[in-house]
Amino acid sequence: MNSMSDLKLKPEPLLRVSDLTRLYGPEKGCDGVGFELYPGEVLGIVGESGSGKSTLLSLLSGRCAPDRGVIDYRRNDGRWLDLYSATEAERRTLLRTEWGFVEQSPRDGLRMGVSAGANIGERLMAQGVRNYEQLRAAGIAWLSQVEIDPLRIDDLPRTFSGGMQQRLQIARNLVSKPRLVFMDEPTGGLDVSVQARLLDLLRGLVRELDLAVVIVTHDLAVARLLADRLMVMRRSRVVETGLTDQILDDPQHPYSQLLVSSVLQP
């Protein structure tokens, strides 16, 4: 009965990961990670620095090949793609169209030398949109979607505040209507007041666009607000996984308990 109501809900996963491993040394990197991600589902990866969160994100997003393990992605046309058996060109196309990647530092995710509008238009151009009016309209629409004054469309990102840059990076990723977005500490470098605004924006966009998201964060409050479920990593392995509320309110593994109880409650 469980599977019946699930079948109606979401037919097939978007991502199937098994035994994903890349080790730089003993307990350094990512060891034997497996999970499935469904459309519209937000998976949070939490754990201390050096636990392997970022390595896992690099492997998942096709940036670095694993020692072993498989990542299968179900594409828009319904066909499954084995990420690391695919060609470099296929992987790059995926990253520019159906996938997005929001870097912790907007400087790594934006092209700082071109205007905000050009940053947003780049993915559309890569998809073959050449019409200037269309690119411009998308730029204006997305700037207002991420709460940036559309009059700033011709300004360079370096004239933007950190929070605005991060929102621009999000717009640049979402313009191509991706189905899966990776995020590496997206609120990490921002002031607390700006964080709340960005989180609220992300929550809204995730629901509106039915995005699947894999988000790495060390901030458990961010995880609570954004993630449906969590994976807790420690020393390259996943030690616990489950519904976000359960992991944060009733952690089972000694390390998860330590992690949750170490947070200062303001």
Partner: protein, 235 residues
């Protein structure tokens, strides 16, 4: 009416690894079922595990053993061991929860906080807004507060926002953790009305009410939990 939730042999323990692995047995072999249109009141002294039971039913706490089955989308669904997305689907459509305290989301207006459960079910913005406004009006939240984030509101105001959110959409099963605790008489009566309406509409209610008049007004049955935990709760 038929059973909407059935609980069998439910136990909950906490193992505190950071405190020398102390094990607390909070719930032991609980058995009960609640029909549509019925209100089960959890009874027992402070520390008997009443809130723990509600949090376990809602999935925030992981049961040690036993079964929690709910009627969801026309089928019985086992919540113990269910995938997170199945639990979230149940929370969207079937199982509501009015917690003791509002978890505030910075910067989100009271109106949006209240509307969220309806938007998550795919209601239109206009329809959601209309229902939210009528609830906020009934619960005597002044209109000038609707566009403000509830973070700075008084305890009673936050609790009423929380209640409006909890009753925003009709729930087949509704869990209530002291919804009337910090309210004055007139607002307490509004909450009683809302609970009666939900019950009339066929909802199964499971609640904790410290106020005896509220208990007498709403309870169909009691579940005595004083035989449960002898140990204190971790939080």
């Amino acid at each position: 009416m038929n059973n909407l939730i059935e609980v069998r042999d439910l136990s909950k323990t906490f193992t505190l690894h950071q405190q020398n692995g102390v094990v607390l047995n909070v719930l032991r072999n609980l058995n009960f079922a609640v029909r549509g249109g019925e209100c089960l009141v959890l009874h027992g002294h402070s520390g008997a595990g009443k809130s723990t039971l509600l949090r376990t039913l809602y999935g925030n706490y992981l049961p040690a053993s036993g079964s929690i089955c709910v009627q969801h989308a026309g089928n019985w669904l086992e919540l113990v061991g269910a995938a997170p997305r199945a639990v979230l689907a149940v929370r969207r459509q079937t199982l509501g929860y009015v917690s003791q305290f509002l978890r505030v989301i910075p910067r989100v207006s009271s109106l949006d906080v209240v509307m969220e459960p309806a938007l998550a079910r795919g209601w239109s913005k206009a329809e959601s807004r209309e229902r939210a406004e009528s609830l906020l009006t009934r619960l005597n939240i002044p209109r000038r507060l609707w566009q403000l984030a509830p973070g700075t509101f008084s305890g009673g105001e936050q609790q009423r926002i929380n209640i409006a959110r909890g009753f925003m959409v009709p729930w087949p099963i509704l869990l209530l953790d002291e919804p009337t605790a910090s309210l004055d008489d007139s607002n307490r009566n509004v909450v009683l009305e809302l609970m009666h309406e939900a019950r009339q509409a066929g909802a199964a209610l499971i609640g904790i009410f410290h106020d005896q008049s509220v208990r007498e007004a709403i309870a169909d049955r009691h579940l005595d939990m004083s035989a449960q935990a002898k140990e204190s709760l971790p939080c």
